[in-house]
Point group: D3
Chain length 68, copies 6
């Protein structure tokens, strides 16, 4: 997932995903292992544009004087 | 995961895991993509023993005359 | 990628992607290795719905009598 | 693997694993490439509990007055 | 790895690699899990040429009349 | 890929690879997502020797008095 999640969010997501997977597949949570790989905004792209690039482009598209 | 899950189980697990992840990370389910990679019993090992090998060894350990 | 591509398509895409990557990163094509992993329609999901499930749902949405 | 291994350990493990794989598969060591991906204690979980969380819980379980 | 290895080779390589990794990293073999992903000759490329394509090209380079 | 590429190089390579893949597979660039995982010189090995180790060995092979 993208970098920037807190320790609390990571602990919450692995607990929730493990419970959901074990329940749906009817297997022990002990057999569920999760490896989180974090990607920075320049290490993830959709349609050939990185997340960082997209954020820059969106910031540039707000006209001067706009309050957002 | 190990091979052998039904289409129903696969649809159930991707729905459950996507909902759990989106809820825990407070993001849209649309941003959650899941790729399932299935591994046969000889393509997965713990402690240097494949799942197929372990199943064979456990079958062999049942003494003759046992009802299970 | 999804299953179903021909040998010709696979050869075309690895040649094109290798050339693009080597050119963009200014490195030798010899250092570019590609592993293709194919996923069937029930092994890929967006928003908790597998590709196979989505195809089924779209087929069901075509009203009776429609020529498509 | 978990973060925290020294350069010496990394060099030792890739040499040992490459030799073992080439020998077992009867192929040239030149065909063996290893990519190490390191995961921090909050990026790895078993049974829905991250390694960091487990370490915290184990520290809390040691009663006051215990020497270890 | 490329498809085509026997069950015996798979059992041999996971045993050997697990022992090598556990020894080099000084950790229990129980913590070593291996997932084997097999790739066919058209799902692996070096320098933009798949393994299947390379095999074809090499076969074509043997002149007529050559005994190999 | 190895660590050390600039933001510009990353943006260039994801744009080029996305265009090449979409063109070769005749699909929309919107369906192409790229995750870049960067590996340091001690997290990548060929033939059991890490990139860092190889660089060290090559530096040592330059005889005294050589200007490089």
């Amino acid at each position: 997932m993208l970098t920037g999640r807190s320790v609390e969010q990571k602990r919450k997501v692995v607990a929730a995903v493990t419970a959901a997977a074990a329940d749906a597949l009817d297997c022990s949570p002990n057999t569920v292992r999760i490896l989180i790989t974090e990607h920075g905004p320049e290490e993830f792209s959709v349609a050939g544009v990185t997340a960082g690039q997209r954020a820059e482009e969106q910031a540039e598209q707000i006209p001067i004087g706009e309050s957002k």
